[in-house]
């Protein structure tokens, strides 16, 4: 039996954060337990038959070690579960994770059911699809969402959702690019950047990763970054309508953003997953802005339009005009990524997507989106009536509520404890999110109204 001295980090080492993150699994038998101040292993009594735990000699990926905690939303889910265990009788209402709740319209699900049945027939069976997506779906997306914007079917890559696309884009960009994000922002942009090795360490004092440019978005700047203070980065992630603030950038703002990207030779990754929630004349696609095709990639999703959060379907637009500094078309590399690291979205989900984009499907999606927008209105009204500063909500299914001077995790916990309503603490989206709570508007109407009632009870 050997002492695994060489495989244990010094207790004072900060490079391995697993000691902080996890408890040592007591099932792992009889390993050397590091004592507090020394390298000397202390043996635990072991039955003769058991052996010491084997560790490989493969170093843990230092990039993953930089991540501070779990991904935000599983953390919220954990807290929700813990709360439900604590209060088994409580009717917990979830306005936290932006998870759709309403049934998918029948025109769409019957499209999927039909495809499923067809797979059992000789004529209807299909195997591998094109990795970029089925031609007719790509064409339908181009026509429906980019009709007069001269985005072609071949510019569109169908996927299993925006989250996967974000990572595939990061894999394509590689580790030697710098990126800028809004602060606050959807956590997948930052986390995928860390994983790919684009960033430095997390700095606890400012709650930011080194080497990421954080573009503050707050009420004071109308939730649009002051571009005059933003350093040049290779990639700029921008989400509009925004998750979590709910703000939709104006045409004028996006024109400035595109110009900024052009002047800096940057690539804009524009997340338009909530475009259908826009009420006013804010742009729904970055490609409405002249010149955007030479600087932008657009990512979108059926998740919040069609309730496809579990079905998994989205798309990315990479215009032919977008080129790297050596003239190489970005779309060619993205195509290679898609062909090598992916094998296409599920053909059943794609059949659902086709049904979504039929006239009946579009109408049905608008209805469901309208339903969630009405939820958003109720939530906004509630918080406004209680005297809070309320943002977003008009163009997105998220309401961004200010709790000045308070830690957002504390507010989250208080709301959960006292009203049994799950929200999302703003700091989960970045340091500028602290002092805010995100309330998502996905829920059955009854639950949303009940939650509003409880908010009133708490704060009136």
């Amino acid at each position: 039996m050997y002492c695994l001295m060489s495989s244990w980090p010094s207790m004072s080492s900060s490079s391995s954060c697993f000691l902080g993150q996890t408890h040592f699994d007591s099932r792992t038998p009889n390993a050397c337990l590091p004592t507090k101040d020394s390298w000397i292993c202390k043996y635990v009594a072991t039955p003769a038959t058991e052996t010491t735990a084997h560790t490989t000699k493969v170093s843990r990926n230092a990039n993953i070690a930089k991540l501070q905690a779990g991904y935000l939303f599983p953390e919220i889910a954990r807290r929700r579960s813990a709360h439900m265990l604590k209060y088994p009788e409580a009717q917990v209402i979830s306005l936290g994770i932006g998870d759709t709740t309403e049934p998918i319209p029948e025109v769409i699900t019957s499209g999927m059911a039909k495809k499923a049945h067809a797979l059992s027939t000789l004529e209807g069976y299909s195997g591998y699809g094109a990795e970029q997506g089925e031609k007719q779906l790509r064409a339908a997306i181009a026509l429906t969402y980019y009709g007069d914007l001269s985005i072609e079917e071949s510019d569109i890559f169908v996927s299993d959702g925006a989250k996967s696309d974000i990572s595939r884009l990061q894999v394509m960009f590689g580790s030697n690019v710098t990126m800028a994000v809004q602060d606050p922002s959807y956590p997948a942009y930052v986390d995928s950047s860390v994983i790919l090795g684009q960033t430095g360490q997390f700095q606890k004092d400012v709650e930011k990763y080194r080497n990421i440019e954080y573009m503050k978005c707050n009420p004071e700047n109308g939730f649009f970054p002051d571009l005059s203070t933003v350093s040049r980065t290779d990639i700029i992630f921008f989400c509009s309508p925004n998750n979590p603030t709910g703000n939709a950038a104006t045409r004028e703002q996006l024109t400035r953003l595109v110009q900024f990207a052009k002047d800096n030779g940057s690539i804009l990754v524009y997340d338009s997953a909530y475009a259908m929630y826009i009420s006013d004349d804010s742009p729904r696609s970055i490609f409405e802005i002249p010149g955007a095709k030479e600087v932008a990639i657009e990512v979108s999703s059926f998740s919040k339009y069609a309730g496809f959060t579990g079905v998994r379907l989205g798309w990315t637009v990479v215009p032919k005009e977008l080129r790297y500094s050596d003239g190489f078309p970005v779309a060619k590399d993205f195509n290679r990524i898609v062909c090598t690291t992916f094998n296409g979205a599920s053909n059943i989900s794609q059949a659902g997507g086709m049904a979504c984009l039929s006239p009946e499907g579009l109408e049905a999606m608008h209805k469901v989106v309208g339903f969630y927008k009405e939820n958003t209105n109720r939530i906004m009204e509630t918080f406004t009536s209680l005297g809070f500063s309320v943002y977003g909500g008009q163009n997105a299914p998220y309401v961004w509520v200010r709790f000045p001077g308070q830690s957002s995790w504390d507010v989250f916990s208080e709301i959960l404890e006292k009203t049994h309503v799950v929200t999302t603490p703003g700091s989960g989206f970045g340091p500028a999110g602290d002092g805010f709570i995100r309330v998502s508007a996905f829920g059955h109407r009854g639950n949303v109204l009940e939650a509003c009632k409880r908010f009133k009870q708490l704060w009136q």
Binding site: W8, F18, H54, S110, D160, V177, R312, S325, D326, G344
Partner: protein, 433 residues
């Protein structure tokens, strides 16, 4: 691939480049192309084959092209499975049946079913199973997990995704035209002479070892003894085995179906698998990865924790409809039904194998896998591919597409309607006899 020979800076944000003697003016960004992408040679193998098929069909519009190239399943999925998926889809239209985001690791019932049904009495827990949208995606997510600072070993020949994903993530050096290999990858020759299993005594130590068994493309299923040696090798060198068992359902003899049949494997191996060739799910998209709790990085950190983080950050779960199908596959009716389709393909493989054998060619595989690996001594595999395509309108895959060790071989896949297989067999006999 564009090779700009001169770059002109016209305005701060625009560039021109010269291609084919013409000056192109365009607005380029100032983002440097990922050098790892530049290292990749040509397109990924299978889209290449698909392209050649299309070109051939344009050239001979009346020819009945038979595809024994890309390993794409052809037979309908059993009703018991598709009706389950259809039902799940329909239920998404109901208040009680609607489901939103699933757990990124997969539906619990499915994870349990995989553990119990497919790993039987092996101590694999449902919590060690991560349901995915297929092996090709899992391989890349594993590469993201491992990062750029690890070294890999692959069989030669091998399924190209292990190599290509390694290049993309930055684990390799440049491609060397003379050898047909990327620098910094350890290629483990698998030939008839070494019984299609690497000679581990001459294999350099790497962090990760990719092994596929039953093998794509050679069709060889590693024996228990070979896998015991592999596990011992990995233990001694501190390596992680990534074991691709996508074709386990095709095993005919008593070759192991899972690396975890080998004692000690839990501390050195990850297993990936797929419903693609098992249930005809090539388009439906469903697979899984097993990461045992005992698998630890050098600092003692459990690999499963990091893989979970990757799955939660870079993925959002396999489609719930596909997962419903997976669950149906693992019911007792489902298992019987999908196995009979597997048997159908195995019979195809036998027909093709016998055909080549009867023509005096050395044929490998075909018994434990849906691929026949045919030797054409002294011939370049792309030449054989082209000749077969030209003269019999049959698509195969040139062995060198799987690595330099595949040269002189052709992979013939056994997925196809029986009458196509028989027709292919007839054409081959008339060409080669």
């Amino acid at each position: 691939m564009l090779l700009p020979s001169i770059l002109y800076f016209i305005r701060p944000s625009s560039v021109g480049f010269v291609e084919n003697g013409l000056v192109h003016l365009c607005v380029c960004t100032r983002v440097t192309r990922n050098l790892n992408m530049e290292k990749l040679r040509n397109g990924y193998l299978f889209p290449e084959i698909a392209m050649r098929e299309l070109e051939h069909m344009k050239k001979y519009p009346t020819a009945k092209v038979i595809s024994l190239g890309i390993g794409d399943t052809t037979e309908p999925i059993p009703d018991v499975v598709t009706s389950s998926m259809a039902n799940h889809a329909r239920r998404l239209s109901t208040v009680e049946g609607y489901r939103g985001y699933g757990a990124e690791q997969g539906n619990k019932a499915l994870r349990k079913a995989i553990a119990e049904t497919l790993y039987g009495d092996l101590p694999i827990k449902d919590t060690e199973i991560f349901v995915s949208d297929g092996s090709q995606c899992d391989i890349s997510r594993l590469q993201l997990l491992l990062g750029s600072n690890v070294t890999i070993a692959v069989q030669d020949p091998t399924f190209p995704a292990y190599i290509d994903s390694s290049v993309i993530i930055g684990q390799t050096g440049d491609f060397q035209d003379e050898t047909g290999k990327y620098q910094n990858i350890e290629y483990m020759p698998c030939r008839p002479q070494n019984n299609f299993f690497p000679d581990l005594t001459t294999t350099a130590t790497t962090d990760v070892i990719f092994i596929c068994s039953p093998n794509n493309p050679t069709g060889h299923a590693a024996s228990r003894k070979q896998l015991e040696q592999l596990v011992e090798f990995a233990r001694a060198n501190g390596s992680i085995i990534i074991f691709d068992s996508a074709y386990a359902a095709y095993v005919t003899d008593d070759s192991p179906r899972s690396i975890f049949e080998i004692p000690g494997a839990r501390e050195v191996a990850i297993e990936i698998s797929s419903f693609s060739k098992f249930a005809g799910f090539t388009g439906v998209r469903l697979g899984w990865t097993v990461v045992p709790d005992e698998l630890l990085f050098s600092n003692g950190f459990p690999v499963i924790k990091d893989f979970n983080r990757i799955v939660c950050t870079c993925f959002n779960g396999a489609s719930s409809v596909a997962q419903a199908g997976g669950l149906a596959c693992l019911s007792s009716d489902g298992l019987m039904a999908v196995q009979s389709v597997v048997d159908y393909y195995k019979e195809n493989a036998k027909i093709l194998g016998d055909t080549f054998t009867s023509l005096g060619l050395d044929v490998y595989g075909g018994i434990n896998a849906p691929y026949a690996w045919v030797h054409f001594p002294g011939m370049k595999s792309w030449d054989v591919f082209t000749e077969l395509l030209e003269k019999t309108h049959i698509i195969t895959v040139p062995g060198c597409g799987f690595g330099p060790g595949g040269e002189e071989h052709i992979r013939v896949s056994a997925f196809g309607h029986r009458e196509c297989i028989l027709e292919a067999s007839r054409r081959l006999k008339s060409l080669l006899s």
